[in-house]
Symmetry: none
Subunit: 246 residues, 2 copies
DNA sequence: CCCCCGCCTGTGAATTCTCTGAGAAACCCA
DNA sequence: TGGGTTTCTCAGAGAATTCACAGGCGGGGG
């Protein structure tokens, strides 16, 4: 089931109307804090654990609808944690966090079961999107909720990553896609460059804030090119997207 | 929930009808005083603390709906304070105060959880507006409260920063927008130039008082242009805005 | 009725913000 | 390993915004 808040954002809910529950497992406090903050903001209920033992314990009583699991934990191997979690909650989808250079083949095998993974350092947009996908597909949330964002004649499919305006397919790079997704999930709302940076770029990004301007520029070329513009600048405040008409 | 006071101002209230509670944390007394005064004027209940330890302590018993937190505290790092606050009050939104040049510093990720920040020196309008936004979105206040101010046929949307009169969109600059917002939040009430200056301009503004006249003039051109005027001068007292049809 | 003070507004300059081209570095896939 | 793609830095151009200054206007007290 989905519901629309007054701000116009759509939230995932469980069939019984209660908030989705997510368990976050990572030994770095800064990561669990960051994720907890961001996921709570999605309207989800969050519990966190710092090691495998704690994870299994918490899972038993919290009964989460999804788990975010760092593969690198102090007390036991990620696979072992996964095994015990599965004994506890056979059907819960898991989003793995892995180091960039980690053995991807092992992960690949694991995600065959409908799970998914992101590499550190990740962007929050990425984590939230993957998690939404997992929860949606697991059936914990109402299945009718779909994965297509629409603003005016612009559509973005979060599953297939297809974007089109007025029927014309548009090719976007990964970063462009995430930026557009963030804008489209907050239509008609001014988003500051800081907000965009925090959400779309990795948490360890230390570069110039003008990458946001740059990517807005890229998006405009692809999306607004020769059409009625949908992406608008609010000088001194940020950017927003809205349907072309009105 | 929102309610309208006898003076015609709309106030944010918690679902149970009690006033919103805000904790202000800053080591400079002049800042906490300034903020406390301004926020009390909004009808909110304010408590303040001068350091991290005091902040956590006060938060524990005061249970604020929002926190204003200076990132630069004598006893501990802003992030450390944040962590402890979060342990105490997982869902409370935080408005960070940061020095202008320290923005890049370690603000990264902070706005991701729905939090927000303003740079010093700030204007009170800015702080109040951001705080209202945070509280509104956090759900501490009734969700029916929305982000659109209306006076006569003039509307101002705080989310999209859009302004229109009788359906015609009007483009305002950042300062014009803040001034109009202040006027519209106090319809039919005379606001002195001093009040406006204190509220809309940064607290360290050292310029000529006639910027207010100047910006009123700008607003009139854009809003009253060729229409029944809504912005009125009370010679010797100040300005006020009210619906055109008296 | 006149003058003073407060208010209005045109001009222009300094500043800040945004956009975008060019190119280097990292990345990806074969 | 090699070429195409993507990400990001740097820097200059250009535009928008802010603000000071100063002359003009006009309301209303005397």
């Amino acid at each position: 089931m989905t519901t629309t808040s007054p701000q116009g954002r759509t939230e995932l809910l469980r069939p019984d109307g209660s908030p989705v529950r997510v368990l976050v497992v990572d030994d770095e406090l800064s990561i669990t804090e960051l994720l907890s903050m961001a996921l709570r903001y999605e309207g989800w209920q969050i519990r966190s654990a710092a090691d495998g033992t704690g994870a299994v314990q918490t899972a038993r009583e919290f009964r989460p609808d999804a788990v975010v699991l760092d593969m690198m934990l102090p007390d036991m191997d990620g696979l072992a944690v996964l095994g015990r979690l599965r004994r506890e909650l056979p059907d819960v989808p898991v989003l793995f966090l892995t180091a960039k250079d980690a053995v991807e083949d092992r992960i690949a095998g694991l995600t065959a079961g409908g799970d998914d993974y992101v590499t550190k350092p990740f962007s929050l947009e990425e984590v939230v999107a993957r998690l939404r996908g997992l929860i949606r597909r697991s059936g914990a949330a109402d299945r009718r909720s779909d994965s297509v964002l629409v603003v005016g004649d612009l559509t973005l499919d979060e599953d297939s990553h297809e974007v089109s305006r007025a029927g014309d397919g548009i090719h976007l790079t990964a970063t462009e896609f995430e930026l557009l997704r963030f804008l489209m999930r907050n239509p008609r709302r001014v988003l500051s460059k800081a907000q965009i940076l925090d959400r779309v770029w990795s948490y360890d990004f230390g570069g110039q804030a003008n990458v946001v301007e740059l990517y807005i520029s890229y998006l405009r070329r692809k999306i607004d090119a020769g059409r009625e513009p949908m992406i608008h600048t609010r000088r001194g405040a940020g950017y927003l997207i809205k349907p072309a008409v009105s």
